[in-house]
């Protein structure tokens, strides 16, 4: 139900990310190829698919993390806000506008406060009062503030798994990102926390565009406006999420996967 309205809205919004003929390879092994897609502003875009489908490689390519992987080669065109990221000199500025949440929570070994203040400080914000506001806002939006407000000085890496994952989200939000990419965020998180984070994401779509990579097809169904199905390094299908489950699909494999017949 929630999808109807936003789907209409998404179609009307400007294009945030446009990917054309994307091909990612590691040496001779091709991780992903033939990807063409457009993601609209304020859309939650789901990517589903089994392991080795190329989902994580896709996110890495968007964030230009290929720079750090000597073997990784990215061909094709990725336009973020209309700019071709493949020929971008300042990849740091690009990455700072994209927040990433990893499958396993990464609480950095510094205080909860410093975890969230890290990116603002790198942006040059040093004023304590200003940082306090940012930290509280980001932790609140990540549904973690109430649990940690009395121990902001505790080490982020000693929080529980679910808390660390929300801390990771708060840290990503502290970047004031245009785009939030979540890579199977619920893998190491209990179901209750997963639902809380899903609620957070529904709120966040007002402000940011979200790419949600997930191995739970029902999670994509609950959250994503449109969803792409990746399989063995190819993008099999892209469509309005509900259609993958109930409407017409172009490829039989899509229906098989969402109904749990393989994978």
């Amino acid at each position: 139900m929630h999808g109807r309205q936003s789907k209409g809205g998404a179609a009307a919004s400007p294009i945030k990310l446009a990917v054309k003929d994307l091909r990612i390879s590691y040496g001779k092994a091709v991780a992903l190829q033939g990807v063409n897609l457009e993601i609209h502003e304020h859309e939650i875009f789901g990517i589903i698919g089994p392991a080795n489908a190329g989902k994580t490689s896709f996110l890495k390519a968007l964030n230009r993390m290929d720079v750090f992987n000597t073997g990784m080669r990215v061909d094709g065109e990725i336009r973020f806000n209309g700019l071709d990221t493949r020929h971008l000199k300042n990849v740091y500025a690009l990455r700072s506008r994209i927040g990433v949440v990893f499958p396993l929570p990464v609480g950095l070994p510094m205080t909860v406060y410093d975890n969230v203040a890290l990116s603002p400080r790198w942006r040059g914000i040093t004023n304590k009062a200003e940082l306090d506001v940012i930290v509280q806002r980001c932790l609140t939006r990540a549904a973690l503030w109430d649990e940690v407000k009395d121990r902001l000085g505790a080490l982020g890496s000693l929080l529980s798994g679910g808390q660390q994952q929300r801390l990771t989200i708060a840290r990503a939000l502290s970047q004031e990102p245009d785009l939030l990419m979540l890579d199977e965020f619920s893998i190491a998180v209990d179901p209750v926390t997963t639902m809380r984070i899903e609620d957070v994401l529904k709120e966040l779509r007002q402000e940011v565009t979200i790419i949600l990579v997930t191995n739970l097809v029902q999670q994509a169904r609950r959250l994503a406006d449109r969803t792409a199905f990746f399989l063995n390094g190819e993008c099999v299908e892209i469509g309005v999420t509900e259609d993958l489950f109930t409407g017409e699909v172009k490829d039989k494999r899509t229906r098989d996967y969402v109904e749990g017949r393989f994978g």
């Binding site: 740091y92 990455r95 927040g99 990893f102 990464v106 000693l158």
Partner: protein, 289 residues
Amino acid sequence: MFQASALNKRNESVQKLYRMLFGMMTLMLIAPVLLILGTLIAKGGGAISWEFLFTAPTDGMRSGGVLPALLGTVWLVMVALMLSVPIGVCAAIYLSEYAGDNWFTRTINLAIINLAGVPSIVHALFGLGAFVIFFGFGTSILAASLTLAVMTMPVVIVATRESLQAVPQAFREACWNMGATRWQTIRRVVLPNAITGILTGVILEVSRTAGETAPIMFTGAVFFTPFLPESVMDQTMALSLHLFVAATQVPGIADEVPFGIALVLIGLVLTMNSASIAFRMWLRGKKKW
């Protein structure tokens, strides 16, 4: 249901056997340490006095104290540390955090391992040729410390690199994904979490530097001088060489003097190590994951 089977019992007794074996080996480790310390204290303890620590040797080293040698060793260790720690740590950061895995870095790694394997007397000859003669530093603390620094650099590099690589890669990736440069990541996340391991390397280096004799005898340490070192261009006495001289080159010297010198040397090394261990513990209390 929970009756121990014959196999259970065998596993249990084998496990006990191994536990005992490992425990005994550990005890055997302690034995030489205790024996060395015990002998030194028994035989050299009587020589130790304020006068022994704070006066120069007199009467052809047969009486008096060890002050010039003690200060000389402190100078040598400090100058060697100041030279080798910054260079070694920076090189390790480059190798671990910046350099890719290619023939060039593999060659450098090989060179470091080889450098660690070169006997100290060879380092001594190198120091004599390079620092004393070629660079014209003469026999001086500077030349001797440079030689010691070259010799102990591999320890610093390897210890630093190991502790940098013990920092989980996920921490780096998290920072890079936020738009941090490599240096920002190193500065804020990698170094603070590797610093205790780096200090361990420094502690090892202090011990080795203070005890070395061969590299300094050609390059900066002298048999005897009544003067205390005043600059890095001075020659100096050193405890290790002084110990060798007192033990083998001075006829009629009291037995307790060489043992006393050895005790001072060990005491100095332990004091320096305790300081860095205390510093390390203080840091560890602050940072933990």
